[in-house]
Symmetry: C2
Subunit: 762 residues, 2 copies
Amino acid sequence: MGDFSLIGKSMKRIDTPLKATGQARFSSDLMLPRMLIGKVLRSPHAHAKILEIDISKAEKLQGVKAVITAKDTCADKWGVFRYTQDQQFLPTDKVRYVGEEVAAVAAVDEDTAIQALKLIKVEYEELPAVFDIKSALESGAPLIHQDHPGNINIHVNIDVGDVVKGFGESYCVREDTFTAPEDSYFQGEPYAVVAQYDHTGSLEIWMPNAGPHLKAKPLSNVLKIPLNKVRVRKIAIGGAFGGRSEISPADVICAFLARKSQRPVKLVYTREENSIATRQAHSMIATIKTGVNKEGRVISRDITCHMDGGAYSSTGPIAVSVPFLCMEQAYQMENVRYNGYRVFTNKPIRGMFRTHGRAFACGVDLQLDMIGQELGINPLEMRLRNARKVGEFTPTKSYVASCGMTETILKAGEKAGWNEKWGKLPPYHGIGIGCNSVQTGFPMGIRGGSQAFIKFNEEGGITVITGIVDNGQGNDNMIVQIAAEELGLGVCDVQLINADTEVTPSDPGSYSMCETFIGGNAVRLAAQDAKNKLLKIASEALKASPDELTVKDRKIYIEKSPNKSISLSKIIRIALSRNESISGEGSYWPKVDSKREWVENPSGQLSETFSFGTVITEVKVDPETGKVDVLEVTAAQDVGYALNPKVIEGQFEGGIAMGGQGGMLSEYILWYNGRVLNPDQLDYMVPLAIDMPRINNIIVETIDPNGPYGAKEAGMSIAMSAAQAYCGAICNAIGVNIKEFPLTPDKILNAIEKKVKGEQNP
Amino acid sequence: MGDFSLIGKSMKRIDTPLKATGQARFSSDLMLPRMLIGKVLRSPHAHAKILEIDISKAEKLQGVKAVITAKDTCADKWGVFRYTQDQQFLPTDKVRYVGEEVAAVAAVDEDTAIQALKLIKVEYEELPAVFDIKSALESGAPLIHQDHPGNINIHVNIDVGDVVKGFGESYCVREDTFTAPEDSYFQGEPYAVVAQYDHTGSLEIWMPNAGPHLKAKPLSNVLKIPLNKVRVRKIAIGGAFGGRSEISPADVICAFLARKSQRPVKLVYTREENSIATRQAHSMIATIKTGVNKEGRVISRDITCHMDGGAYSSTGPIAVSVPFLCMEQAYQMENVRYNGYRVFTNKPIRGMFRTHGRAFACGVDLQLDMIGQELGINPLEMRLRNARKVGEFTPTKSYVASCGMTETILKAGEKAGWNEKWGKLPPYHGIGIGCNSVQTGFPMGIRGGSQAFIKFNEEGGITVITGIVDNGQGNDNMIVQIAAEELGLGVCDVQLINADTEVTPSDPGSYSMCETFIGGNAVRLAAQDAKNKLLKIASEALKASPDELTVKDRKIYIEKSPNKSISLSKIIRIALSRNESISGEGSYWPKVDSKREWVENPSGQLSETFSFGTVITEVKVDPETGKVDVLEVTAAQDVGYALNPKVIEGQFEGGIAMGGQGGMLSEYILWYNGRVLNPDQLDYMVPLAIDMPRINNIIVETIDPNGPYGAKEAGMSIAMSAAQAYCGAICNAIGVNIKEFPLTPDKILNAIEKKVKGEQNP
């Protein structure tokens, strides 16, 4: 790679000081003149007909400025996809989960709003409810949506090669069923929305989001106002993890309250509301049958997976496909069949999650370990033999343009001392490995591309205008870094205007790991467009052809005679004196198969590139308490090219915290008849910094042919690999393969006890 | 002209509802968290050395967060021009007028800030002061700036042809001296600034302005921070009239207070501060000598003009030139000499004003009337004979590309019934005419051009991004109208992002009547750039060449087969499906002689085009009270092309209010030793709506070859013509030519009395 000033260097994120000093403003910090406080009335029933809602008393309460029910909203059903339109934001017919939105109020203060909620009388007729996949699928089970017989929401079917023949040709075949309960995104920032309408009927709205443009269009549809009357504004965002990609009932309710009251309204979810009324992850039952040859190479694999989707579709179609896709990207296989079902239950709505599919991914990896046990091949070797290679196609026909899967396995193994440790660790010590791969963007129709503008001031400083949002992962920094690098500027010379739908051009949104790749490319192209204009002027001034010139340190110089230079500010002034404007525009669309479907025909280029990650975890289990002590985690990922190693390491560590430390050790949602029993920070155990183990980060670079500077996604394939590696390490430590995740002390103790007693583990 | 949907139609301004309902937010409406209130300590002396400033007591007052003096600011002298750098924003050596800024405080509330001001002890040594042009020019007069002997700030000298020879060849020569005192801009919105710094040292600032980019660069210079760390933000503005084009001490003081306190600071001027510490208009003594031939055509003219500039240069160099330039544009003359002097006095600083130079312009016109009287040629005919024609050059070598001077005279005369009324009105009834011409932009170096971006949303709605500010004249509407017209959209389809230096590209600023011409052209070009991209796609879809297509009503159709059409939203979706972004960029630089100097060599193309206006006023004077009753005003202006007749009529009427009704009847500043005696709305008599006469508006269109749709400035040449016409009418009514303006009842009564007594009037 070239001789960069900023790219490839570890730099401090530009957003850190604001966040560290508390100066960053999140949606709940916003105060607008005459702003009201909104509150939502929620269903106490898991499944019930709504017979009547009486808001008359609430409306009369002093200080109440608006009360809304379904009558005040448009009753159309909404969905992320054309074929998943099943949710009314305030339902008219029935409620489908405990906590579903039924009515809302806006009042002068929170106390008044809460009091008003108590004055709303809702008459329900309770209906029988189902709370788990099995009951939902039973014949005669109560139907949650009349048009979805059997409570099947989505069925994804993939069938490549000949699975049956493949099993016939296999040397060894295993079938196991793995399960995992729901876990929570548990973003640091609870969901909060501020909305106001102006006199022209234009809506201005602030909320956590994974892309302002991603929110604006559906809001325009649901609120029945033109898109150019919806302005989703930039605000600091405290995490998304896949859960803030679609519009939320909170967005819509807040907007309707603002419209009805004709005043700004703020709606801040409590931690409990955040846990029950924003998207959370699916529970899952995955039955995996794998056949391998003598060398341990997978010949055939057949997976049936059921996911509990809760009451509505949400991003369900994606959620059903993704675990399969990650697997088929990471591992070679010729014959593969997948039947994925998303099932409706009377529980809160599930969405796409950063480490979606614990049962699936950990199941696949743990089963590989188990097969390896039978064949006498160690887990690392099993993965090496099945690892995806560059230049291959996945079973669903995605070309893999860059791939460091093997390199991550080897480097992680070396760093973790795999060969020295495997089979040689003391009792109750274990080591495990997991591999995974993720996409960088999905085919998302017309919002798939990103566009960026760059404008100059007369001193040579620039403003980058882009729709890219930063919801915590460091996108702001990435944009500034790329623009500054391309134009030979310092970070302090770049101002950033982003993520405001009225000001900034379209962008697919910061989800599905695509922003560095798609948005980063657009910013780079915009900067290059501007740079070409600068080079033209510099080339005249320095009497040298543009390709002899270098842009660096706020000046352009002849590469071979660095003292022959002209400053950027001088170039800008020359341009202005000639009545020319210097500006840059860049657009990037990922090369994906835009006809590729999520459900009916999942075949074609899914994503322009993929990242590949390996995690190795070493643990010590206390056989008396079942407590797991994580000794060391080694994370290696093919990130294409490391634009900012420090940020990437942060992403690796966050992924290990969420996928491994939380996802495999402590995080799960506890239920009682559709009620969440642990919605708060005390009972839902998100790992804290103090819980984290020692981590070795290994960045593998493969220089993706299409990524900006070769870069692609960073951190996400670590998150799931961590879960897999934690799982493998614990099972290795206790000598029992537990198939129910997460591996909490009770399950570990139980498994150890059974093993000691000689009983069969599940 | 073409068949337009919006252009040329009277449409309601988009900003009216916000302003009419009180929803528009001005700088003083802003509230920021932890915001402090700033207050300024002002000099009680007109001229005094500053010996010592003791802020220790003020700093100790509970609630005071910052006290600043010159020590806290950069002490560099600042000026609009390179050669006029004479003002420190907080002076270190001496104060030069009553009200000059000496120190400032920021405190938690206004009471505390005011109390803190009282605790600041300043020790002065009083110096002799001068308060008028004559005393300032006397030998031995106290010097206000040591490096300006004779207190001469600026001397503009223009000498074209041979004036002496011209007088020799003249049939009739007259010399008269005219005077006018200062008047006030009296913007509806008092000056207010809000400033805050963020953790990166970036300044965000809101204030009334005539162009955010016009403020940002000088602020960056004075505050010694890079330009990209200064963000001047959009806010509603209540009038500028030439007085808000440069940075004000309030801007700088507010920024320094915010920097020192590390909190947001709001500084709102009282009405009195607005009158003494923001720019106000110059007083003037103009001696005009004019020689004409038998037919009344001007052969030679020699003008010496002294203007009282107050204590500092400000926009003085422009102010000295402009009255001459307006005259030379309006009237033909072969030989002309001009000596313009701006004189320093110990009075508040004077700046460029919308109807700058009453003594000059009304003097020229009244003298034409007087010469006509001698020759037996009526005033209208005198103007016709001297009117500027299209295709001519002005004496200082500006080419006149479009000119409706003669047409405005003829049309106004016809409408006002000039021929029926001149010489035939009853006693104490009078009719008068005035003609004037103004520029549309000046050569202003690198900020002379305007740039605009247009982006589309996927429904076909657009956002226009431009640096153009609207400070009351309707620029926002003009931008939206042009963009919507070009792209076949409705006004509601257009969102506007403007006048925010960080977001919007550069623009010269909304002063010198240039925005419709320069900014309007840039917006039009940006829209055309986008339109060409739309046409390309439409042409493929409709199988027709782009020049057969029409863009209208949110669709593109084949002009000859209007039912063959494609909607804009469809085109945008086609573009997006092809991975193309539709956007537009446009830049416009006026074709002016950028080397043209204001002082040393005023020759070359001053402005790309000029507007021409004629006003005819009919009055009745009460000989008992001197009160003037304005019966009717007829205003005709060559506006090039009327983009929005309703807005233009509003500009005409505002011009008549300011130039005629206020400027010639009631508005002037009263002084006592450098103190303003009438700084408030009770004593300074700005005309109200109820004071206004019946007005006939006549729009003359000449279709300027370079203006957008042929448009140029609208309303400004009416403002000064109105003063001239009011003056002529009153003098005609009373049969005395009064040379001291404005024509207040006392002067009128005095003149009538003297005339009745047979005494000579001045």
